[in-house]
Amino acid sequence: MKVQFWGTRGSIPSPGKATMELGGNTSCVQLHFEAGRSLILDAGTGIIALASAAQGRTAIPQSVGEHHIVITHFHWDHILGFSFFHPIYYPGNQVHLYSAFPSHVLEENVRALFDGTYSPIRDLDLLPATIRFHQIPEGGREIAGARVECVPAAHAETNYVVKVSHGEHAVGYAMNHEGCPSAINDTVVNFMKGVDVLIHDACFTAEQYVRREGWGHSTIEQAIDNAIRAGASQVHLTHHAPNHSDDFLRLYLRNLLKRQPELAAQVNIHLAREGHIVSI
């Protein structure tokens, strides 16, 4: 299995010279399985680059395909790229959207993007691709040959963390999850037990968190702690705050690991970086 990061920024896309290394696009991760099958987690603006890399907008695609996208929740930074996901504009493409929400809730939220107000598309049904909505039930389901399960995250609004298992490997994806001690966090940590890679919200520093408790995001420290408790081999800190530059994050992590070298001894710690591909 391969994990490819297309969007690592939280809240709002943040283009700029200071954010180019870790990336300015919002949440989107692609998991590659064998035989070219893949699964996309969230449709932040990273998904636009994902589609463009495969087929530029101006090129008519040579082949059509199936796309599987799991949406964790409907905050803008997790669904906005879908309006510009090029495969929806070509006939023959099958785009399957999944979430732990009832499928009509998923459908309503996606339809709202295409009512003619926010782009020239005035009805989702006018899109040339076939778009289908599915619920991921309690206990999970198969998608693209992988097992996908969800449990609720600790967040101000309903949101789910996701675990994708394929063969002997598993990847955990916890966006907009607040990792402070709580029963929900314990459930999330237990759910993530044994994942190879944990991709975890790490929006705040410990100091920033003091004034932002209850906002539904984790600190860098909480994300690392959750990864250690879950026994993950790697943690990728993501959902970077829009005003955290590459240098800010790199220095912060370096100093944290200098003060607490025991953290890096228990889990491989990375700042999630747009374009990075992790093989497991």
């Binding site: 943040s14 283009p15 300015g24 603006t45 680059a49 510009f84 709202a112 926010y118």
Partner: protein, 295 residues
């Protein structure tokens, strides 16, 4: 009048290192007229602008936001504009109703439960909405703002700001109208397509007359517009053809850069537009994030 570019990318923000010289943020421009702060559009560029305003005026300030239209790239940054969350700010949003949604619904939908953690009605700043009908003239601080509907999907406003003897015209998301009437209600209000097209062109020529600077959508090139006229955007050539109606053509700024245009491609587009401008006796600039113009 000082004009600063905070975002000039079209369609969606781009975050590639090959596009950073021209900038990746979507449309947001700041117009400073004396002490008045007038913001044009709330694309992602408005996020950084908000941070700067809060730093410069920590106790608050009166701010005007003029929205051309509610396509994503023009409102995407609004929920992350910091002054909305601070009580000292008085913010007036000027914009037109959309054919399918009134302006207040468009804005509050950005903050609806499930989409955002806070609600539009509960923002700490004092926020008011001023609905603008296309063609209407209004006062924004000490500046006169003239408007007209542009040829784009739905209702898209062109702006002309006049103060003392200076005039600044902002035209984004407009397409050539010949055989391509896109604006909501435009054809219905005319006797025929021909009448509609001619009346529109006359309005547009008058609207830009005597301006010191005209910002114009130039998303496409002569090549890329092929088959995409109905997408609602123009080329540098279209912008120059418009301004060539005037004896003393305004200076032109190319804007709304295609999200697939790298810096290198933009350099090429700018150079050939400048050459064409020289032939036509026109000064041509290209919008770059962080760039400023003094009128």
């Amino acid at each position: 009048m000082q004009v600063t570019v905070y975002g000039t990318r079209g369609s969606y923000p781009v975050c590639q290192s090959t596009m950073m010289r021209y900038g990746g943020n979507t449309t947001c421009w700041l117009l400073e007229v004396g002490d008045d702060l007038i913001i044009i559009d709330g694309g992602t560029g408005i996020v950084e602008l908000g941070r700067r305003i809060v730093k410069r005026y920590p106790d608050g300030r009166r701010i005007h936001i003029c929205l051309t239209h509610p396509h994503w790239d023009h409102i995407l940054g609004m929920p992350y504009f910091q002054p909305f969350f601070l009580p000292g700010f008085e913010i007036t949003i000027h914009g037109a109703d959309s054919p399918r949604k009134p302006l207040d619904t468009v804005l509050s939908a950005q903050y609806k439960p499930g989409s955002f953690t806070r609600r539009f009605e509960q923002l700490s700043a004092t926020v008011s909405l001023e609905k603008v009908r296309p063609g209407e003239q209004l006062s924004v601080g000490s500046t006169v703002l003239k408007t007209m509907q542009l040829n784009h999907h739905g209702i898209d406003l062109g702006f002309r700001f006049e103060h003392d003897s200076s005039a600044f015209v902002f035209l984004t998301d407009l397409a050539p109208i010949k055989g391509n009437i896109l604006g909501a209600g435009m054809l219905e209000a005319s006797a025929s397509e021909l009448v509609c097209e001619q009346a529109y062109m006359n309005r547009l020529v008058n609207f830009t007359a005597g301006a010191d600077l005209v910002v114009h959508d130039t998303n496409f090139t002569d090549e890329t517009i092929e088959g995409r006229l109905h997408w609602g955007h123009s080329t540098p050539r279209h912008a120059m053809q418009l301004l060539s109606h005037h004896n003393d053509p305004s200076a032109l700024v190319l804007s709304h850069h295609d999200p697939e245009h790298t810096d290198e491609m933009m350099d090429g587009i700018y150079m050939s537009a400048r050459r064409l401008g020289q032939d036509m006796g026109m000064e041509v600039f290209v919008a770059k994030e962080g760039g400023t113009f003094q009128l």
